[in-house]
Symmetry: C2
Subunit: 345 residues, 2 copies
């Protein structure tokens, strides 16, 4: 049996010397190396920016969506959208565990897991696409995937429905990072607060700011904001177009008596929301960019351009305990869980 | 006289409602609004990523470089490279100050200043290009520019040559951010340490880590590394290709007895260096991306893909006192100043 590298470099076809994520093509042969785990895949949860792009390219036609997805995997050996660069995650059953992982992993054959590493670096083979659930970015397939030794995962909990767990785990990094960043007394703005990761961020922020803090939810439509209001996830609600920096700044200024916010968490999967985030945040404040549509240059030069001394953090989908933190929200807040089940599971 | 907005939104032609930086076209008519400053421009210091792209597109031909630059400014009303999105900065003399700024600014007509906001948002008119100094990314022109009310600047100090001050101010954010981030005892890796901003970062890092810390300089060529060695700016030197993540990781591991580093500062203006930075940094460590070639998605998904819990910060070209901090280095270290004068001034 061939020996594999912990980061999966042995699977890289081109360009040589890179890791699987930046690689344009990786080997998706399903014969495992000694430190790999073979997964029988059941569902792909496509990254929201990627799925939106695919749907648009397909003009909303299901057969065309299937064709685009199959084509991506055939070309690259992984489901990495060539336009957005992003992937997603998957759910499946452990089928084989490489002998070099014995004693190193607590997984066993037959465990149902969600991989918490991106599809943009996961060797994948699609044999058949069974169902496209357009409204929740999920696609049921027949196929196989490989988890590398460094790859993170979560065993699907018994007390939560599978699709619910998958939807929550897909965005697990955002609420966990929010929990780490927010302190009592902070004023926190969640841009895209009515969305899939936004609602979980609001929940964690509200829990952490306490009675002396304030949580502001900004969303683009009255309808979604009403839903979040019903759940009581924030102290103040703003309806605004996140790409309109000037509108966002003015409305946040109004909500904070001109003081602006300590922490902005940006979850909107549309381009050009960097500047609204920067203008809404106090000097010495922090902006956490979780949106995959964030443009590095626009953020860096934008802050400089308006002379704002803010700390801008790039969203890391992984932080210790992120799966546990986000799944726990579903147990703590029955109403939020109900909304999550209706919308995403 | 027309009233202007502090952020310059009154100059945006398209798309409406955005700020000057993300705008594709701004008004470069040189009749000032009441809160603007008119500058008689002498030198443009083009952002290194941008100038490299322009030089490549021009096949190194000076006349072609001039043509590309003029064309950018004619199309956009500002020198924002359409490929890299980045700008640079300029040096010039204050020609007119809007009446609304009276008592708000300490500038006076005739002051020689460097604008510290990006050219990517600065209204600019080029009448003539006099000289292209290819080796230092500087271009002397005849022309005018506008500084908005929120725009930051530095008065050129009397005790340092102008071109030297301009070169230092161009990268002032990086050493100032390094000074804020680094603590005594830290192990710090500067990727691109032999470059223009890298050397200043090394200097600040070395000053701050003290005798219990360690500074590692990584550069791509023996020649430039030898130069930095001669200046004694680091404790350990690595020659490696920063885009080869696996090579970088192995060499940093060797230099740190497998412990890796607390803080990585990335100054390399080439794509695909995100992963080398991530793999070189300890869990819970910090990566400061100052390179304009940084790709947000590659960094975010890259860290998740290898299960690294690192704090990734987007370089903000502005932090309080950045001009003073970086200019002071030239007074403190005569040898570094000599090298800087030879290379960049």
């Amino acid at each position: 049996m061939k020996k594999g590298n912990p980061y999966g470099t042995h699977r890289v076809i081109e360009p040589k010397g890179t890791l699987p994520q930046p690689a344009t093509k990786i080997d998706n042969n399903m014969e495992i190396y000694d430190n790999e785990i073979l997964i029988d895949v059941q569902t792909l949860n496509i990254d929201s920016a990627s799925f939106t792009q695919i749907k648009n390219e397909a003009g909303g036609k299901v057969e065309k969506i299937k064709e685009i997805m199959k084509n991506i995997v055939e070309t690259r050996g992984k489901h990495q959208n060539p336009v957005t660069g992003s992937g997603g995650m998957l759910i499946g059953t452990v089928e084989k565990i490489g002998p070099a992982l014995e004693g190193k992993t607590d997984l066993k054959v037959g465990d149902k897991i969600a991989t918490l590493v991106s599809l943009s670096l996961t060797p994948l083979r699609i044999d058949e696409i069974n169902e496209v659930r357009e409204d929740i970015d999920q696609v049921d397939i027949k196929g196989k995937a490989i988890l590398f030794e460094s790859g993170i995962y979560a065993v699907i909990p018994n007390d939560l429905p599978e699709n619910l767990a998958l939807s929550v785990l897909d965005v697990a990094g955002a609420p966990a990072q929010t929990a780490k960043l927010v302190h009592p007394g902070d004023t926190v703005l969640v841009i895209g607060g009515a969305g899939k990761s936004g609602m979980l961020c609001l929940y964690e922020a509200k829990k952490r700011v306490g009675v002396t803090g304030k949580v502001i939810c900004l969303g683009h439509s009255e309808e979604t904001i009403e839903r979040v209001k019903g759940l009581g996830l924030a102290d103040h609600y703003i309806v605004a177009d996140a790409t309109n920096a000037v509108e966002v700044m003015n409305k946040v200024s109004e909500a904070t008596d001109g003081k602006m916010v300590d922490i902005t968490i940006n979850n909107v999967n549309v381009p050009n929301t960097e500047m609204g985030s920067i203008l809404s945040t106090k000097d010495d404040g922090t902006i956490y960019f979780f949106s995959m549509a964030t443009n590095f240059t626009k953020a860096a030069l934008g802050a400089e351009g308006v002379g704002k001394d803010v700390n801008m953090i790039m969203g890391n989908g992984y932080t210790k305990g992120h799966a546990e933190i986000s799944l726990e929200i579903m147990r703590e807040d029955k109403n939020l869980r109900k909304v999550y089940e209706d919308l995403y599971a």
